[in-house]
Amino acid sequence: MSVLAASTTSTGEAVQFWVLGTVAVIGALCTILLRKAVHSALCLAGTMIILAVFYLANGAYFLGVVQIVVYTGAIMMLFLFVVMLVGVTAADSVKETIKGQRWWAAACALGFGILLAGGIGNASLTEFDGLGTANAAYGGNVEGIAALVFTKYVFAFEITGALLITAAVGAMVLTHRERTERARTQRELAEQRVREGTHLPPLPAPGVYARHNAVDIAGLLPDGTPADLTVISTLRKRGQIRDVSGEALADLKALEQRSEERLGRDREDVRDIRDQVPDRDRDEEEASR
Amino acid sequence: MSFPLLTVTAAVPAVGAVLTAAVPAARRTAAKWLALLVSLATLVLAAVVFARFEPGGDRYQLTESHAWIKDFGVRYELGVDGIGVALIGLTALLIPFIVLAGWHDADPLETQSKRWRPTQGFFALILMVEAMVILSFEATDVFLFYILFEAMLIPMYFLIGGFGDRAHSGTDENAAAQRSYAAVKFLLYNLAGGLIMLAAVIGLYVVAGNFSLTEIAEARANGQLDMATSTERWLFLGFFFAFAVKAPLWPLHTWLPNAMGEATAPVAVLITAVVDKVGTFAMLRFCLGLFPEASKWATPAIIVLALISIVYGALLAVGQRDIKRLVAYASISHFGFIIMGIFAMTSQGQSGATLYMVNHGISTAALMLVAGFLISRRGSRLIADYGGVQKAAPVLAGTFLIGGLATLSLPGLAPFVSEFLVLVGTFARYPVAGIVATTGIVLAALYVLVLYQRTMTGPAKEETRNMPDLRARELVVVAPLIAVLILLGVYPQPLTDVVNPAVRHTMSDVQQKDPSPEVEAAK
């Protein structure tokens, strides 16, 4: 790896290329095909790490590290944050709404890919120089890049600095929400509730006392069914309500079983109650775990 | 370097336009006075140009030349010949009257917001048009001319579309729709012509390597610049098409009746008396000057189209029910005469055509502005809504009649001189065309007199019985125009003096000689 001046690479690198390249392509495909954004992000992160390895293999040590630190470490994490913000579990619908979009996309992609490949094949790139001399000129890859960045590309460098600052400020401006109206007082809120007449008292608190007190656990109604109203709207919208009613009913049933056994009585109606427990969103429940 | 008189003449109205536009909303009247003063100042400058121009001197005088776009050899190059001087004079003469006639045309309506400033805009646009038209008469650089030729569409578009005639039948929405139709039609028609001209301008550059009219013409005359026959013809057609749209020549005329019908009377005058003249002027200067051979080649076809314009325009004028559209069709007929005179390729025809441009401008202004006053009194453009106006408003009727008589080229009024010259000039080369064109003078009498009879004579109608006569401001507009018409009708020498040398140059451009009379030829 130290002397990269030949027209071919070492076998080790070839093996590495074919193995990791395959994985990178799979990662890329997963990025665009998986329905959940968070999965896409993770796959993309994987692809990027593989690319970092390739950079290293190509003698771009500085870039390889930057790729991992900046791209995978910072940018992808930023993605994940946003995914979290807008809903980590929301999956895209697979149904295409624009007529012919997929066909056109596929056709264009195919044509484009073939043309690119043809272009590369067409170009005469049979031999290459390797980075040995270039890296050695200033005593290393990092030094070489530094020399370039602070001499030849210094203006571009300064401008990118300005760009970054601007972007940071821009992001703040975009996401910062100025309160445009006066916050309503409690009294006003109360009056509004009275006016609307839908729900006068404060909403019930979540959690099942003495058993679960997390905010994502709906309180139980007297009949043991969960009351969605007790969970905050964000979680409700995301469908991230943990339902412990089954557990509670199972406990109840066990209790009754025990008392049955003790008392020797047969209670049919208990079974009825259990049947009413909705067995909905089993996978959702799993996802939330 | 001498004083840039030509630039200043065009710059004064341009600066005036900006200043007028900047007048605050509340100071409406100040804007009007400012516009009037600026237009009068321009008139003075035009008079200076007229005085400084020496008929016996060089072809182009008072020239200015500065590099503009070096890479393409585009220069800011100005100069006037006699034809340009005459038309600059016409433009500068008419604008003050147009401003004065349109004094109240753009007053804001009650319903409009107080911050809205239509008056300022109206007068600023008029001055803007004036500046561009004057500069286009001065430009001797093809590219500069092209830019102005196109740019003047913009203010005209807003003048037509934004300030319609308040006298209309039907609802306001309907009128607004028609107005916008007229404005868009005007714009698209002229843009189409302009685009084709742009192609020809580029083509000319490719062939000639620069845009200077004088240089190209000189190179052509020396034989340094050879154009293939077909190239020259295509380029000629490209230029001619744009000018024929602007002029307008049958069958490219249909935008004019719409535009003139929907615009206010002063704007209609601006269209037909001033802006359209750029088209005929450019035919003389650019078509004949740059492409003499192709001009000769196309002459028969153009003469036929011009003849159709003359007769067709006159017949349609007879058939109109709307006063302003009638004048528009009459103008189409007159433009036919102008174009016929230009392409007759005789001294009489071309001098006549040049005089015709000036005279038609003044006579149409007189007729149209009086018609505008009439329309503003009754609030209708339909001829059938009038009758017996003469009894209530004799001065209005009298001036209207004089405008009409000028339109039908009565001897003693200016248009006669030019029309007769065009006829004689055409007849000398194309006798049949000359004879057919004379039917135009009968038809002109028909549409003018029918119009006069239906509006002014007969028993007075209820609405016209108490029609007020011309007011002082209106009289100030009309009287000088009529005076000029009579003056140029009996003593056109000041004009012919400057025009004749220019025509001589044009005739030598196209290498044509007047046909000599039969008797002399026999000897």
């Binding site: - | 017949l315 349609l316 001897p411 003693g412 007849f427 007199l449 003096d497 008797v519």
Partner: protein, 647 residues
Amino acid sequence: MDNLIALLVAAPLLGAAVLLTGGRRLDKAGHWLGTLLAAVSFVIGLVLFADMLGKSADDRTLHQTLYTWIPVEGFQADIAFQLDQLSMTFVLLITGVGTLIHVYSIGYMEHDERRRRFFGYLNLFVAAMLLLVLADNYLLLYFGWEGVGLASYLLIGFWQHKPSAATAAKKAFLVNRVGDMGLSIAIMLMFTTFGTFAFGPVLDAAAGGDASEGKLTAVALMLLLAACGKSAQVPLQSWLGDAMEGPTPVSALIHAATMVTAGVYLIVRSADIFNAAPDAQLVVTVVGAVTLLFGAIVGCAKDDIKKALAGSTMSQIGYMVLAAGLGPIGYAFAIMHLVTHGFFKAGLFLGAGSVMHGMNDEVDMRKYGGLRKYMPVTFVTFGLGYLAIIGFPGLSGFFSKDKIIEAAFAKGGTEGWILGACALLGAAITAYYMTRVMIMTFFGEKRWQPAPDPDKAASVEPGADAHPGELPHPHESPKSMTLPMILLAVGSVGAGAFFEYAGFVEWLEPVTGFEHGHSPLSAAAVTTATVVVMLLGVGVAYLQYGRRPVPAVAPRGSLLTRAARRDLLQDDFNHVVFVRGGTHLTRSLVYVDHSLVDGVVNGTAASVGGLSGRLRKLQNGYARSYAVSMFGGTAVLIAATLLMRAV
């Protein structure tokens, strides 16, 4: 002396300018100013005449050049005047009769609130007419020609509030324009043939035989067309009858004495051209002969006194044109008849005006009768005019008309016989219809006792003092009206004999040339024949109208009578062919313009719009959809690049 010529024109022109722009403050004195300036012109004319008489016959032509009117390369038109014997005759006729009629109008238009304007128009007419006869080139003549047309238009339509007057004015102008077309084509032909259109060079060249006969015939025919328009000759005669809508003085001055004779002037002025174009001359004589019969027949059938006189005018001008077409044997007589006709026809019209003045502006002769007792002066002057026009021996019409008939026979050949016969027949019919007018108006029993028909009264000329609905009180007109009538009557009586014995023909000879015709009939025979047919006509008319009461309502009459009442169907023909045809033509052209020419444009716009509407659907707003197009576009670009490299 030369410089006075311009003053001739300038005086009335000044009057017109002052009166028409002066405003109401001139209302009181305007008519005096107008009359004065016409008189000034007349006096200048007399001075010039006296001067001219003092010179030798060949030296009498005066020229005055003011300035160059239209100087253009190869084309020069001057404002220049030429006063020779022919022009002089016209100048005296125009200013003389003109002044008389100004005077007459003072009384006639007394109660018209627009009298000032009327005098302005009259002055304008006099100026234009003088310009016409004084011009030294055809273009300036054209100026005057159109000027009189304008004045005629304004004066016929003077009572604009009457739709009939406005229509008549428009018709007159339009028909004249058709003639003007002829004049302008003639000028253009002259310009291309001779390179000029000044009288001197053109006529010399024509006389010198420089130009081909074909060209000259064309010029002559075009001049004839012009003359037909202005002089109301067939086929352009239709406007004259309608022109009687104008005030009566106008009919007398313009549509009898002066303007309508301009055509004759034009032909005589262009004598050299016509002499060199015999074919054209023949056409001229035919037009003259046809018109003289046409006008006479129409005159027989009209009950409207002015229209009967208009028919007569047409007929008499027909005589003049006939004479002018005969060439040098007739030119002088044409002018002589023109002048005598100017006197007696103006007198007749003024008489008619006077009658109408007294009869509540009634124009229907069937509602007159027995007026001689009430209007003695009018009766006598009208009667003298009547005797003059029918050619009563010794009066002016006798001398001039007799000469024309004689010259017609002298044309020679079959043509001569036919033309002579036509002229004789015309004389008979003239005697007939004029006697009819005379009897119906001044003799017989009164037919006006019952109040005039209200419908009729409302539609008649609301001239000087119209009191529609009241009974007429026939009375003699004021002095200002009778004085001109008396003077004109004197002229009607004496002018012929004066000209005959004072040498009118010799006076004109330097301008028009003169040859003695060789008539197949002796002069005495022609005179006898003329007198006989005249007496015949009078006799028939007397038998028909004098011996029997005149029905107050016109009988249906024969087919010819009915046709003659409608101007021998000329108007109907014009209406069907030109008016209706023209209306259809313009309407269909309007349709064509809207749907075809504009249709192509709007159709293009619509199809572009439709295409855009369809393309617009691609613009669905989905960013991804746009991305596909961008992606596809990139692919195409790459393909193009690769292909370019491959090539």
